[in-house]
């Protein structure tokens, strides 16, 4: 009956005739850097992937360009150094919250509480740093982050151990921590922050020289790591991008870094000279790097994607679903704590005026606008950062033009809807491609 040739000789094993259609789909699914042999190949594969809806961060980057052109044409103040740096600082809170939200979104869950969790963290920090307690800045921030992580742990445990939907548990969290915030803030309704270091997080800048040194060091490390990684793969005969593409990637990073430092080092002061890279930009970059590493290069990150893709498969592979889910909620709340610290630092206080409901909706919107899927399984820390900049950009640009909050909300809603539509359409395309 079946006479089968020994393994090594394969070429004509019962040929699985790939139809043209299937071949095209397979082609589209493979990231360009994996199959491209030359730069031309790389570009061609990238373009066909984009056409097929596997566009990655391209829509959001395109959106940013569009917003820039639009607002600049309407108000020439938009693309000034001062406004752009201001925009980055505004975006920091959204970006950090959104990076947190990405963890649970990858799992196909949601966390609606992080706006008020961030505010609760900020209140803990402000209280601890206040003269009443007089903790040093690092202890106050540490306490805030620990409290937020603990909140994530509790919510995660409720969700996994009782088996409740995260939507409901964190909706309860939204209400509960709004209450906790009011309780901490007490009758005054405001805790001012007088600690210089804490206030500096959102308002101080590196000196011009420091900015250059830090940027060159970061790009240098990135270049070295990328080059070593890619050339090791090439040597091992594994799929790897061609050297030109590696160099282009590092070159692009350098170019972006130089542009950012030049922008930040331009004098943006009105009365006195203000220049330099804001600390908070560095903080966002640091969080981005750490979370990107965690998601891409560790088992925990791998398991998050696996659970988001097919929880049953992950379970059968021996992954502890509950542990990974709880870890994701802890990471989300912890990152929200960082956002809370930045938020309070910018206002030099924390008060009952904080709108945690809008903050969390902006965070989810930012993550989705950046390219993270609401359906689970897909998402990157970078999505949160870029989406946060888009939201801050709309807010900033419309503010410059004198629009009210009413108009800002409506436009942001439109952008969110567009992003979710893109996500759903791309997903349908992928599912149909199976």
């Amino acid at each position: 009956m079946s006479k089968i040739e020994p393994p090594p000789a394969d070429p004509n094993l019962p040929p699985e005739h790939l139809t043209d259609e299937a071949a095209r789909k397979a082609e589209l699914a493979v990231p360009a850097e994996l199959v491209a042999e030359s730069v031309g190949d790389y570009l061609r594969t990238s373009i066909s992937r984009i056409k097929a809806g596997e566009s990655g961060i391209l829509p959001v980057v395109g959106g940013l360009f569009l917003i820039s052109i639009l607002f600049q044409s309407l108000n020439s103040n938009f693309l000034t150094a001062g406004n752009l740096v201001n925009l980055l600082v505004q975006a920091a809170v959204f970006s950090l919250l959104a990076m947190g939200e990405v963890f649970v979104l990858i799992l196909g869950e949601i966390d609606l509480s992080i706006g008020y969790v961030a505010a609760t963290g900020a209140a803990v920090m402000a209280d601890m740093a206040s003269p009443a307690h007089g903790w040093p800045w690092w202890a106050a921030i540490g306490a805030a982050l620990a409290v937020c992580a603990l909140i994530g742990l509790i919510q995660g445990l409720i969700i996994t151990q009782i088996g409740l939907p995260s939507f409901v548990v964190t909706l309860a969290g939204l209400l509960f921590f709004q209450g906790v915030l009011l309780k901490i803030l007490g009758n005054g309704g405001t805790i001012p922050i007088n600690n210089t270091t804490i206030n500096n997080i959102a308002s101080a800048n590196l000196s011009d020289t420091e900015g250059w040194i830090v940027m060159l060091a970061l790009v240098g490390v990135f270049g070295l790591v990328t080059w070593r990684h890619d050339s090791k793969r090439r040597l091992a005969g594994l799929v790897a991008p061609p050297p030109t593409v590696t160099l282009l990637k590092v070159g692009a990073a350098l170019l972006g870094g130089v542009a950012l430092v030049l922008l930040c080092n331009t004098d943006r002061g009105v009365l006195v000279k203000i220049s330099g890279v804001p600390w908070v930009v560095l903080l966002v970059v640091a969080v981005l790097v750490v979370w990107t590493f965690l998601l891409g290069r560790t088992k925990l990150g791998r398991y998050m994607y696996a659970i988001g893709g097919n929880a049953e498969a992950a379970r059968r592979a021996g992954v502890s679903l509950a542990q990974v889910r709880v870890a994701a909620f802890v990471l989300t709340s912890f990152t929200a704590g960082i956002a809370g610290v930045v938020y309070a630092s910018r206002l030099r206080s924390i008060s009952t005026a904080v709108d945690g409901g809008t903050l969390v909706l902006y965070a989810v919107a930012a993550a989705v606008i950046g390219g993270t899927s609401l359906f689970g399984g897909r998402g990157k820390a970078m999505h949160g950062v870029l989406g946060g900049i888009v939201i801050a950009g709309i807010d900033n640009g419309m503010g410059l033009m004198g629009y009210t909050a009413a108009a800002k909300f409506m436009v942001t809603a439109g952008v969110l809807l567009a992003a979710v539509t893109l996500d759903a359409v791309a997903r349908r395309g992928r599912v149909a491609g199976m």
Binding site: E16, K25, Y305, A306
Partner: protein
């Protein structure tokens, strides 16, 4: 047929295995032997106990009565982990792959290799590549493509290769060709054959007589929770297997193995 020598100790032996689910007796004293280097097909009508049998071997159900011998030693397989520790891997119908992960990530899911806490992608990719080429799975364009982009046959191949990567001595496949087209079925069957030729034991559960007769060395027929026949494929024909599956007996089976229906 190229059956290996039948004298040796079977890799897996079930003896008198019974299983009840409340008042329903799913298995009545099942006796079954599975040998390395052979493809054993498990056939039977719906409700005959095929699934319960493989789930018993895979550690999902534990038998109420009877014994399981692995390489001649009596063993208790209480959990899927026990089964994996012995070298039993099961490829279920729904494959249990993550569409958003690539082939390497899926093959190593849950057993990632790390160096200083960081995923060692090079190591995993090399090992996955070696396994795939040893099984002559070469139709995939890149082992770094997400599983979502693979055809049904390619996915089945990845799921089987995953089992092989984990040094499975016995690979159980539940209806591996049920959802596949003609060419892809041929691909998976040839992979199954290759698995056995490499010295693994392969066990395939199927409804499809064409597949069974094309790839199996030995056919075990279940009827209402009993094994009514275990025979080399050469001693059976399609009609007799269908008779066994539907009535539990076949008039011509024992005496005239090679007779064709007419």
């Amino acid at each position: 047929m190229s059956s290996s020598e039948n004298g040796g100790e079977p890799l897996l032996r079930l003896r008198g295995v019974s299983k009840n689910f409340g008042p329903v007796q799913a298995l009545h004293g099942v006796d079954l032997e599975v040998r390395a280097g052979e493809v054993t097909a498990l056939v039977g009508d719906n409700g005959a106990g095929k699934s319960v049998t493989i789930k018993t071997i895979a550690g999902i159900h534990s038998p109420d009565q009877g014994e399981i011998f692995w390489e001649g030693r009596p063993v208790r397989i209480r959990t899927p982990r026990d089964a994996a520790a012995l070298g039993i891997e099961t490829v279920y119908q729904d494959l249990a792959l993550c569409n958003n992960l690539d082939i390497v990530q899926n093959m190593f899911l849950g057993r990632e290799r790390t160096r200083a806490g960081v995923l060692n992608e090079e190591d995993m990719e090399t090992a996955a590549q070696e396994t795939l080429s040893s099984l002559a799975v070469t139709t995939v364009r890149s082992i770094r493509q997400p599983v979502a982009s693979l055809s049904g046959g390619q996915r089945q191949s990845v799921a089987i290769a995953k089992a092989v990567l984990w040094d499975a001595k016995l690979v159980i496949m539940d209806e591996p060709t049920a959802a596949l087209g003609v060419a892809q079925t041929a691909m998976v069957l040839s992979l199954t054959r290759r698995l056995a030729d490499q010295g693994h034991a392969a066990m395939i559960v199927s409804h499809n007589m064409n597949d069974v007769f094309e790839v199996a060395d030995r056919i075990a027929v279940l009827y209402l929770g009993r094994v009514v026949a275990v025979r080399p494929v050469a001693e059976l024909d399609r009609q007799s297997v269908v008779d066994l599956m539907t009535t539990g007996e076949s008039s011509r089976m024992p005496s005239e193995p090679e007779r064709t229906e007419g």
